[in-house]
Subunit: 409 residues, 2 copies
């Protein structure tokens, strides 16, 4: 168990100042699911009329909660809703017993809050393949309901951490027709996550009034360029869950075409996705990889992730090695269209390769100096079309191996 | 530059005793392409009537030599042939200058051996993106031609090493209609290969008489279950080359249907492919991953490589951690068909997971003891069909990060 991890060197200074969102209340508690001496269960309660959208992992071995959320998303209801989340146990690959444990928790929340079970969403994060001690969560529900507060979001962000080295939150306000709409979110995740841990979880809240279909459209679309554009180690969790709830309490109506809202939601989701990468296991560098002029957007994404996920590129980054040959290698192996002689590569503003060879102006020493930084940008011009995609990743360090190989055994 | 690497703990005791193959002669020389004080160029000369088959990397950024070999393979000729190989420089992503350097070497060999250029195959392995000093090779050709010998294969295997920690060879004899046919091979490779290095190179020789089309068919088919079934770090080289030459000097005719020959070639190719994995960068464990009862063979291969390439699985292996949850994760993310409740997983003979949960008989301590070994077998039964595939890989250790991050920078 990764008990004592130092805060990531890429962590932000502090948790943001998140204002209360009308219609959303939070509470958290130490239920002892696995960890001792820290909170590990959060409850979010949403007022009647809230709409909820979600995107979930596509893993074929997804967890009981993911399968259950999948069934519930898209159903329309005027009721309130709740989100119950525990850390310390992923309740994934736990067979029928795991499904029963998930239902026990959901049903208990439904009863305590007088909601239909279809309005209770759950998520679990932690060890795969161990029985979820549902009773420990259920016995704390009275406390959780009693403690619900407009201001509990920061503690909720802490309760869902597993081996994260800091709590992750983001907030923005957008002006729509002179009125203010708030958008807030919390996230957890730092890889497929350390010893036995699995999952990225993201919970987003707004007081905008958004029809369920519009909410789902916005979430799915923005997810493509935020959470689906990050990679720590190329391993997809069994439990990845992103839920977005809109309470409507601001009285401001928003549709899938409201550009101000879209921009605000994008900024909160992008911030949270970057916070996950910055807490990547063992990460010492935050790296943006922009691929442009690929045959199409799909090819650009394939190239970007081939670079972002290459162990040889990631170890070179860890060593501050301006090893552009490995980027060429990754483009070559990706399977997406490329022509050696049209590829251009930049480190920051430094042109490194062009015309199928190292750029005449490039000096290795400049590349080496650039690579020393902890925030890097690699740009690749494929030179074939208009496709583009930006991915974010981190490096692969000794610390990653230590976290994932040296504990537990 | 990875100057001093200790011999892999998974290395074999010694280079095998490879008997001379009629019609094939070898020489090697220290040309100083990059390394000092060691041989770095090999020449193989093949007698008239030899047929040659090859499989080459599909990378979109493949090297000049790979592109050139591609053009020449499949051409019929009664002439002899030659293979010229250098280490220390991959001549990949070197633009038009690189293509010219490759032609200069090929043309010089063609002239020295009175062969048409179409019968001279070349390969380069080493740094990507640096100019190949063709002159240093060409000036040594007289020595190489003079030194050609029936017994130079072991030295040739040494000359093509980059950061390999040992020379790799394999040999077998097969009886066909009471006559003996010899099959020999050498290989180099230990990942996409350490700092700036790229390539797996394999050269196979036999004195069987095999029509070119049959030879190509056999090589391509057996390649699927040998070299295309291994992975050290999921990174595909720009220069991977496997060439197979048949001199016919044994007088034994072989077609694509000669089972004895097929079995012998398979054994040499499998041995060499395992030798590459055993020299995987930083490897401390050799791991066989057998996936059976997948929907089809293609799905089985996707599952096997999802497991073999997962950084979380590979670091767990490095830590001797019986972390079967990560195998479940890898199956889930692979994209190939799986049903959580039908998957079975074994470590060696130990049933670990079944019916969507940990096996009732499984004891973590037994898994932990099994994982201490340096040769591991993981079996996964998908429970859906008849598809099967076996992949071989190694673990992801601190040493891998050291080799790839700590040098050069």
């Amino acid at each position: 168990m990764a008990n004592i991890l130092n805060k990531s060197p890429l962590a932000p200074d502090h948790f943001p100042n998140i204002r209360a969102i009308d219609g959303v209340r939070f509470s958290s508690v130490a239920a002892g699911v696995k960890y001792k001496g820290r909170s590990d269960v959060m409850l979010a309660h949403l007022s009647p009329g809230s709409t909820i959208a979600g995107v979930l992992t596509t893993s074929a071995t997804r967890s009981a909660s993911v399968l259950n959320c999948q069934e519930k998303l898209g159903q329309l209801s005027d009721e309130g809703a709740a989100i119950i989340v525990n850390s310390g146990n992923a309740n994934a690959f736990t067979g029928k017993i795991g499904t029963e444990a998930m239902h026990a928790v959901v049903d208990a929340v439904s009863e305590k809050l007088s909601l239909s079970p279809d309005r209770v969403f759950s998520a679990s994060t932690g060890v795969i393949g161990e029985m979820l001690p549902a009773d420990r969560i259920i016995v704390k529900l009275d406390d959780l309901v009693r403690d619900l507060s407009d201001y509990g979001i920061k503690e909720a962000a802490r309760a869902i951490m597993t081996t994260d080295t800091y709590a992750k939150g983001a907030f923005t306000e957008v002006q729509i027709d002179t009125k203010t709409v708030k958008i807030a979110g919390i996230a957890k995740g730092s890889g497929m996550i350390a010893p036995d841990m699995a999952t990225m979880l993201v919970f987003l809240f707004t007081d905008a009034k958004v029809p369920q279909q519009d909410l789902q459209f916005l979430l799915s679309e923005i997810n493509q360029s935020t959470f689906n554009a990050i990679s720590v180690d190329s391993d997809t969790s069994t439990s990845d869950t992103v839920l977005l709830a809109a309470t409507g309490m601001s009285g401001v109506s928003v549709t899938e075409e409201t550009e101000e809202f879209k921009a605000g939601l994008h900024s909160v989701m992008r911030d949270l996705s970057h916070l996950v990468v910055r807490d990547g296991e063992g990460a010492s560098k935050f790296v943006e990889i922009e691929v442009c002029r690929a045959q199409n957007d799909r090819d650009a994404k394939i190239h970007a992730f081939a670079i972002a996920n290459s162990p040889l590129v990631k170890t070179a980054l860890a060593g501050s090695d301006p090893n552009w040959g490995r980027i060429v290698m990754a483009i070559g192996k990706s399977g997406a269209l490329a022509d050696r002689d049209r590829i251009k590569i930049w480190f920051g503003d430094i042109l490194v390769a062009t015309d199928g060879f190292v750029a005449p102006s490039y000096m290795e020493n400049n590349g080496a100096i650039y690579m020393q930084q902890s925030e890097l940008k690699i740009t690749v011009d494929i030179g074939l079309g208009q496709g583009r995609f930006t991915a974010w990743t981190c490096d692969l360090t000794h610390q990653y191996v230590s976290i994932n190989a040296d504990y537990r055994s």
